[in-house]
Amino acid sequence: MNKIELRGLDTYVYTEVLESGLQIFVVPNENVNKTYVTYSTKLGSVYDEFVPIGEKDFIKVPLGVAHFLEHKVFEQEDGTDPFEFFSSHGASANANTSNYKTTYLFQTTDDVKENLEYLLHYVESPYFTDENVEKEKGIIEQELLMYADDPYNVLYEMTLYNTFVEHPMKYSVGGTVESIHKITKEDLYTCYNTFYHPSRMFVVVTGNVKPEEIINIISEHESKRSILPAEPVKIKLVDEPDEVFKNHEERVMEVSIPKVTVAYKIRLDAFNDLSLRDIKIYLSQLFSLQFSDTSLYVEELKKKELIDDSFAINTVYTDTHAVIMISNETNYVNEVVKAIQEGVKQLHVTEEEVERMKKTLISSQIYMSDNIFRMNNFIMNCMIQDGEINTNKVEEIKKMNLKDMEYVLNNLDLSNSTVSVIQTPRKQK
């Protein structure tokens, strides 16, 4: 067991790697009663083309398999219902799938040991039949339709679809109603056997626990499976161009106020002097400065009554590109799109702004370290994005400076962008 310090946060992470390759991270916090446990695999919606374990050739699976698999992992051969197990042990359980990972989780104030052993057990015992796969399609279809009625979700997915040309980030995590009906139990087993191998998985435990106990419970459970480490899965590399798929799209939905997103697609290797972590932070901060409440530019737009609330900034990354999405709700769609396009041309930064930004970023680390859910997410994100825990985040923030930020600004290419709009049934002006 290793003990590593998250510097500046009075917080320690205990880590262990088992023989099978499974990684364990424990962040004890004796000031709360609750414990939060996540068990994740590095299988997300974007891994749709890969070489299955023990085979040689690439295969392509239907869109939405990772999410479908997440639903079906709850199915157990003896008919027990994992939700029922957790409920009867005082825990509340769930699961979720994103672009790069799938996570099974529970939170509890009681019986951590029993719940943890059961989490490992049910995730590790797949049972897919033609019948139970078929039955799930109705439920997932309803889930997809629910998202299809949510205008914010539609705007987000539309933006990604129009930004990417080749990369599967283009598609919604859940797939489409059409694609999920093509999924078979064989697809599920192929993905499961390839990606739910301990070498691709990790457990993160945050909350009221003793690290040695947690690590012992997990290693004891895993040693019974006697699985050997696996080679990394070969994933099809995508040659994603810098250009966007489509420059403009409008859709009509049942909304009272139109919603708009302008997205910029930016090559990450344009900033090779800096580390990827620094690039990500500088990029998102640069846009926030111009489009948040502290910006003079936003204040001007408000005075002109083009907007009444500041912009939302959302960032998505692939290995090669960043997508910065700037969104607002407005009755003046064309004017606001122009204002965003004008605004990104005037991005700028001052010494004073860098210092204020650092205070905000540091405080967000402290808030995070006091919260077992955010701490757990922090560790998971480190593992997915960097493959290791960032123990020095506070120091990294303190080292941020005007020179590096200006370097990012000077190398920023904003020529690739796309505009997505959700319109009201009858255009209001």
Partner: protein, 425 residues
């Protein structure tokens, strides 16, 4: 539970100060609560006031100036929102600050001063809020009111509650109404502000690594309001009548999925039923993924992705919602009715009963896990006369199957609303 915590209450004349000191957190939570009996014609102006207080102050003349100061104070997060708690309209003005240890000397006082500036020193001249700010907030509110019903499930619940009983405060739209908005002026808004400050009941809660006596002095110095108020009646709603037969109606919208919203009235109950049996009933019926509704409607019949029930203890209501295909409407309603009936017939096991108790207890144990959670727990002691958490954990064990059946007999299915999605694929 709640170890290393010290609670002190001070009567400050025009308000009560509740200090909960503990060294367990790196953050300090602060809430200033205002409450008064809920009136429909006041929700709009109250929401207006909430928004304008955060837009500018006497000292910080714009949202931008406020935002700059927020960042200088290590992103101290401040918010304000109103909610309907039974017979009352409650406005909570809250802040989360860092423990001074992680910032700089004097940070705590500076942050609290800044927070109270928004509440106590509004941007007012000649007896009215500033005209341009008023106008800006008003435009914002028009959009907020219009788009607040964009989410189908929210809209379905609102519609259903208005049909269930339009006089029930919980059926008021918390962002307000366009027709009421038009009547508000910069002058009337300021009059209302003074009215709120002088006649609402005020409680201030602070939780974190703080010294009670120091806090008392600080608030005595900074929170300068001189009026006396006394607590009025209870928060709890008692329905006057129930329907013999439930009422159902349908509305069509261009959506892909249909939203089903069902409301049931809960008739006179003892305190024990209200505080304990009701929770257990709800958990068994539709409280989570192991509930009867989830297991039957979703897992067995694959009719939906979401389905759950909610127990609104203070409002004496039980709400059920589900997202379905319009073709499955009749089938879903009949399955839900069957589950309600099964509860009356005692068609659930001792095991389910015990499980529900565990879930309830588990919920109790996290009531002290963050400054905000601790403050909410104390608010419920002060406003709702609920038992202390330790007592609750003992009392919940006393709930029997017969208690749940008796409770089920007083659940009256009242309104069934389908927001029918008629979009063509």
């Amino acid at each position: 539970m709640g170890d290393n915590m010290n609670y002190k209450k001070y009567d400050m004349g025009s308000f009560h100060l509740h200090v909960i000191s503990t060294t367990r957190f790196k953050t300090v939570g602060l809430k200033v609560n205002f409450k008064r009996p809920a009136k429909k014609e006041e929700v709009t102006i109250r929401n207006f006031l909430n928004q304008i207080l955060l837009e500018s102050t006497n000292r910080y003349k714009s949202r931008r100036e406020l935002a700059l100061e927020v960042e200088n104070l290590y992103n101290v997060s401040c918010g304000i929102r109103s909610s309907l708690s039974g017979n009352y309209l409650v406005t909570i003005f809250d802040a989360l600050l860092l423990d001074e240890k992680y910032t700089e000397k004097g940070y705590m006082k500076k942050s609290i001063e800044f927070f109270l500036e928004m509440l106590l020193h509004p941007d007012v001249s000649n007896g009215a809020f500033r005209d341009d700010v008023f106008h800006l907030v008003k435009t914002n509110l028009i959009n907020q009111i219009k788009s607040s019903s964009d989410a189908p499930t929210t809209y379905a619940t609102e519609k259903m509650l208005e049909h269930l009983d339009a006089n029930l405060p919980i059926s008021y739209r918390i962002y307000g109404y366009l027709e009421d908005l038009e009547k508000i002026t910069p002058q009337s808004l300021y009059e209302y502000y003074k009215n709120m400050i002088h006649s609402d009941e005020i409680d201030i809660f602070i939780c974190g690594n703080v010294n009670p006596e120091e806090m008392k002095q600080l608030f005595q110095e900074l929170f300068t309001i001189n009026t006396l108020k006394r607590t009025r009646g209870s928060h709890y709603i008692k329905h006057k009548k129930v329907r013999k037969r439930s009422h159902s109606f349908i509305e069509k919208k261009n959506l892909k999925q249909s939203s089903l919203s069902i409301g049931c009235k809960l008739m006179p109950q003892s305190d024990f039923e209200r505080f304990y049996v009701g929770y257990i009933y709800n958990i068994i019926l539709g409280g989570g993924s192991n509930s009867k509704l989830f297991q039957v409607v979703r897992e067995k019949h694959s009719l939906c992705y979401t389905i759950h029930s909610r127990y609104l203890n203070v409002n004496s209501l039980l709400l059920i919602s589900a997202g379905i295909n319009k073709e499955d409407y009749k089938k879903a309603v009949s399955l839900i009715k069957r589950q309600l009936k099964a509860m009356v017939q005692g068609n659930f096991t001792e095991e389910q009963l015990e499980q529900a108790k565990m879930i309830y207890i588990s919920g109790c144990k996290e009531l002290f896990d963050s400054p905000a959670a601790i403050i909410n727990t104390y608010i419920s002691y002060v406003y709702l006369n609920v038992d202390e958490v330790e007592t609750r954990i003992q009392n919940i064990q006393k709930v029997t199957k017969e208690d749940v059946i008796k409770f089920a007999k007083n659940v009256y299915l009242d309104t069934i609303f389908l927001l029918e999605g008629d979009a063509h694929e």
